[in-house]
Amino acid sequence: MSEILTKSRARNVFYGGSLFFVVVFVAMTVHSHRYIVETSTAGMPLTDEVRLGKHVWERASCINCHTLHGEGAYFAPEVGNVMTRWGVLDDPESAFEILNGWMQAQPSGIEGRRQMPFFDLTEEETRALAEFLRWADQTDTQNWPPNDAG
């Protein structure tokens, strides 16, 4: 064993093999990038309103309570399919109204209940957030989550 596997051979296998996997990974990333842009997220146009919604989502650090496509903090419900759960995936006006009503009612202050903070958003920002969540919900996520509960 020690004659076949010398230190320099082990080192060369490490460098050579790693380089190989990096090249494969980069090639697959390029393909995935194009697939995301052209196929999986092409269901709804990426408008300026959706972009603004993403900034609102980030500025409020929603990800540190909620999950989005299963990634986040597990402290609050999944929102990648929240528009489906509310039954307003194809209805921007109702999506805004439900979201706005929910956001305005926070924090609930109910004892023993997890509290969502109050975020002081303009109507434009809340509309944008609703559009961002509708946009995310239209993404082809390989049929995840398994059901509407998220």
Binding site: K7, N64, P107, R114, T141
Partner: protein, 447 residues
């Protein structure tokens, strides 16, 4: 301590331990909010506390790595550091950036990409500090003796600093955002950090067991080869459900199964080296941490990772408490414990004391490790119930969460043990000055 410039590691370790204390206290508070959700809900909401918990962890682990590099590179390269002044400037930048991030989180200024919430100026500060570090450490290594340990350490640190560039790339398209976000998050913890971990483990084994360098270094290359061969394409296990192509389900599943191998190899490596080694090193606590880290890393990163990495399983478990269970034990074993092993090894020498058996330190190992294992078990049970109720039956999120209260209480108890262990560790490093228990008669030292 052979070289004066190794002393800079001391400052890094002190700051790291301070942040470690903040991290676990933040975690404890977050765990308490699961039980008593109205706590601080308007003053300091959960999302802010969680940012402090995760960010403090990441920064202190990085400070530990930087400190470890500054400590071991002079010995490996057989020369003083290129510049101790640069090392202190780097630390100052990181401290200012960290304090700046904490203050801005508290007043509500932050980004919204998980773990990368730092304001832009802090991100640039980290970039500048990383460049200073790479220059300093690379010039030291290039001028001195080259060993496999410094090769691997440097490669890991260079790559992790380069990957930081993706922290600045935030596409408007959410799915692209997520894909490139993983370039930092996954390729840090499941690729480049493993290189750093293996290098530190190799160094500790070399120093404490007395096994031949040639043997240690050969196996180090084998370990890091398995880490990168599996870890790079293993990124695919994060590309199952974020809008990326379906082929990642098979690529991700297969390669992330192989990700268990480097952790199994590191554990086996550590135990075999200790068995084969004939040195009776007096720093038993450092040995305990080294063996403990590689073992818990195998279970936390390896076994608990495997538990939910196959895409057929992950379809149901993704984003539940199962993920939280795995995250806690993996980070604790692979990176927290390995850093603490290095601190434990280096501290007596940095403080100019003969190595001692460090009984309190060993007690802190069992307290922290026991607490973290218990936390992992209860979160795994909570996650199993959550997966069934929410993903199979289809009950709504909060209804399910209301059923998990008992587990969250037990998790809080486990958290208390971890915090006590962490504080005991810091106390044992900074305050204890001598043997609390005299060593027994040594029969054949050095045999």
């Amino acid at each position: 301590m052979k070289y004066q410039s190794q002393k800079v590691a001391y400052a890094y370790f002190l700051v790291a331990m301070a942040l470690f204390a903040i991290q676990v206290l933040g975690g404890l508070l977050a765990g308490w909010i699961y039980i008593s959700p109205n706590t601080l809900s308007e003053l300091l909401p959960f999302n802010i506390i969680r940012m402090l918990h995760t960010n403090a962890l990441i920064v202190w682990l990085l400070l530990g790595f930087f400190g470890a590099a500054y400590y071991l590179v002079p010995e490996e390269s057989e020369r003083e550091l290129f510049s101790t002044k640069l090392a202190y400037i780097q630390l100052a930048i990181l401290v200012v950036g960290t304090l700046g991030a904490v203050v801005s989180y508290l007043v509500g200024i932050h980004g919204g990409r998980e773990f990368l919430e730092q304001p832009l100026w802090v991100k640039f500060g980290i970039l500048v500090a990383a460049v200073i570090f790479l220059v300093n450490i690379s010039l030291t290594v290039l001028a001195g003796r080259k060993t496999a340990i410094t090769n691997i350490l440097l490669m890991g640190l260079w790559l992790l600093c380069l990957l930081w560039v993706f922290a600045f790339i935030n596409p408007d398209n959410l799915s692209l955002d997520k894909m490139y976000w993983w370039f930092v998050v996954h390729l840090w913890v499941e690729a480049t950090w493993e290189l750093v971990m293996a290098a530190i483990l190799g160094y500790l084994m070399l120093k404490m067991t007395g096994v031949d360098r040639e043997v240690v270094e050969k196996w180090l290359y084998v370990i890091v080869a398995t880490a990168l061969f599996s870890g790079i394409l293993g990124t695919g296990h994060h590309f199952f459900w974020i809008g990326t192509p379906g082929y990642w389900q098979w690529i991700g599943s297969i390669f992330s199964v192989f990700e268990v191998i480097p952790f199994f190899a590191m554990m086996s490596f550590a135990f075999v080296m200790v068995w084969k080694g004939r040195k009776n090193h007096p720093n038993k606590a450092a040995l305990l941490w080294s063996l403990g880290a590689s073992t818990v890393a195998f279970f936390g990163a390896g076994v608990w990772g495997f538990l939910h990495t196959l895409h057929g399983v992950n379809f149901y478990t993704h984003g539940t408490q199962i993920t939280a269970a795995h995250g806690h034990l993996a980070f604790y074993g692979a990176y927290v414990a390995m850093n603490l092993a290095m601190f434990t090894y280096a501290m007596p020498q940095l403080r100019g004391r003969a190595p001692y058996n460090q009984v309190l330190n060993m007690a802190s190992f069992w307290l922290m490790t026991g607490g973290m294992c218990f936390m992992t078990f209860v979160l795994t049970f909570a996650g199993t119930i959550q997966t069934h109720m929410q993903r199979i039956v289809g009950d709504y999120y909060m209804e399910v969460q209301d059923q998990l209260g008992l587990f969250y209480m037990m998790r809080f108890g486990a958290g208390v043990a971890v915090v006590l262990g962490a504080l005991l560790f810091i106390y044992s490093q900074l305050v204890v000055r001598r043997e609390l228990i005299a060593p027994g008669p040594v029969t054949t030292p050095g045999e």
